[in-house]
Amino acid sequence: MTATAATPSTSHLDETQKALLANVGFIDDGRSATGVLVDQRVAETSSVHPDVEVLPIKDALLRYDWLQDLMFRLIDPDENEAVRQATELVDDPVGCFVYVKEGAQIEEPIQLFSVIETPQARQFTHNITVIESGASVDIVSGAAVPERVHAGHHLSLDECYVREGASVRMVSIERWGQRMESESWSRTRIGAGATVSNTTIQLARIARQRSNSITWLAEGARNNEQMITVAPPDTVREADSEIILEGAGAVSETTARMVAAGGVIVNRSTLVGAAPETTGFLGCDGLKLGDVGEITSVPALRALDDDAQLSHEASVGKIGAEKLDYVMATGLDEEAARDLIVQGFLELDEQALPPSVAKAVTDTVRAAKSGSL
């Protein structure tokens, strides 16, 4: 299968939209390709690199015959009630098709964003990403709403194919509205010898956010995930993830840092060792700030092969008095000391971020952390 050529810009983003998206990583230039969904339409798809293509999914399905076979291959439209209802209700899905050619080494990241501008809008997106063999690329994605939009519903389906020997670093920052609901269903198949690094940042207040992901790793594939999640008051975040090491020698490491700052976090992670010489680690640490809110962390390990090495570490608690005293003994008052400790707890591993966006992402996150906490 092949796709060709850079796609010309079809930009309909205005300056207000660009400013809004800048909060979650958008920049006007310095990106190899861009895809932006606004409400139930594709507002922009463009590419400035000949080896990268971003298209509206509808156009891509018409242009590339083989894409039909990839759609709904990793996620079944009847998989569960939420997905079934969404796919039945919307017969004209909106989303982006992202394609990186075989062997392409893309220096500037691809950026993909979702925006809800209309209050109470219901946005359903279906994205398909194909990174061909030996390609290397960074992908920055995010979601945002204008300040005036509090309520709405977003549901996304993402199917991602990372082919043999490819390398992808992804970072995602979501800032939905305070009374919104968001559901995401993502499926990723990582080919033999391929490497995926995925950073997810969820800090802003939202009524309910639910994510469900399954990742399959083929022989020798590597997967590294870090997630930082904050639940401010009146926020419920529920994450279910399953990582299946189905190829010999596959390696996965997941680190989740969760802070319940008045809201609720439920994190259920399952790591499956289904092949020889597979190695996996789940790290789930939670901080509970104050009396309100809760954290439920359920890491699970399933060894289907006797040569799978799986481990997990989980902790949930409040900030220890020893740490607080230590910082306060430098002269910072209690609130500033707590803030410093929590900021540190949520600090990103910059090594896992695309270098071209690392500083912007960490600055954005630091500012957002201060606000959300």
């Binding site: 220890g320 008095a321 020893e322 740490k323 005293d325 230590y326 910082v327 306060m328 003994a329 430098t330 002269g331 910072l332 008052d333 209690e334 500033a336 000391a337 410093l340 400790i341 900021q343 540190g344 707890f345 949520l346 600090e347």
Partner: protein, 247 residues
């Protein structure tokens, strides 16, 4: 240079009949202690004798609770004064076993204290160049932790140094570095006050006396201050006869 003779400055720290509990256990019993500006005092005692508890009580750390008596800093009671406020009033503490602050870099802590400009010189003095981006105490060796604990004090330049085993487990070369740095912190003019800073050092081995001219030594036995006197003489006595009060 830091004075080797006993100065007689104004009173910095005063403990009057101080008893301290941790949980239901009394760990210090009616301790009286006075430290004046420019003085360096050393606390001797066996493990568990209450040395670290005394420092923690002065700093106001959890879970130490004053059950009787009073602690005064520059003549003002520290009752109900938070740890932060004690630090701002001039107390600085080097912890014996400091906690790790995951994700909080040395630089971030210095920035939070608005003391980045003081960090560079301190880093150099303590042989900690290149530590700015490292999370505080995470992955530090034992010796690095000890040096960082002293380095940290330069960020605020305290009037009263509480040093809990500052040289414990440190190699000879770095013990000298630590000793020199503490001497700098104790120099007159090291703080914004006119008076010279004062110090209270906990030491198991007394090796700090090789580095710093301590003025007064105290012996703690089972939470009681059983003797106070010339630091050198007390140390000699302990070396000869163990942790028993001189006749």
């Amino acid at each position: 240079m830091f004075s080797e003779t006993t100065p007689s400055g104004s009173v910095v720290l005063e403990l009057v009949g101080v008893s301290v509990e941790v949980g239901d256990v009394e760990v210090l019993h009616e301790v009286d202690l006075t430290i004046r500006s420019g003085e360096l005092h050393v606390l001797f005692g066996r493990n568990g004798s209450g040395k670290s508890s005394l420092l923690a009580a002065v700093m106001g750390l959890h879970p130490y609770r004053i059950t009787s008596g009073q602690i005064r800093l520059f003549g003002e009671s520290l009752e109900d004064v938070t740890v932060s406020e004690r630090a701002r009033r001039g107390i600085g503490m080097a912890f014996q076993d400091p906690p790790e602050l995951e994700g909080v870099s040395v630089d971030a802590l210095a920035n939070a204290l608005e003391a980045s400009d003081r960090l560079s010189d301190a880093e150099t003095a303590l042989h900690l160049d290149g530590f700015r981006d490292r999370p505080v105490n995470v992955g530090f060796s034992g010796g690095e932790k000890k040096r960082w604990e002293i380095c940290k004090l330069f960020l605020r330049r305290p009037s009263l140094l509480l040093l809990d085993e500052p040289e414990g487990g440190v190699d000879l070369e770095h013990a000298a570095v630590i000793g020199d740095a503490i001497a700098l912190l104790l120099e007159p003019g090291a703080t914004e006050l006119d008076a010279a800073p004062a110090g209270l050092v906990v030491s198991h081995t007394g090796s700090i006396l090789d580095r710093l001219p301590a003025h007064i030594g105290h012996l703690l036995v089972d939470g009681r201050l059983v003797h106070s006197g010339d630091a050198g003489e007390l140390f000699d006595h302990i070396r000869r006869g163990g942790y028993r009060a001189p006749a």
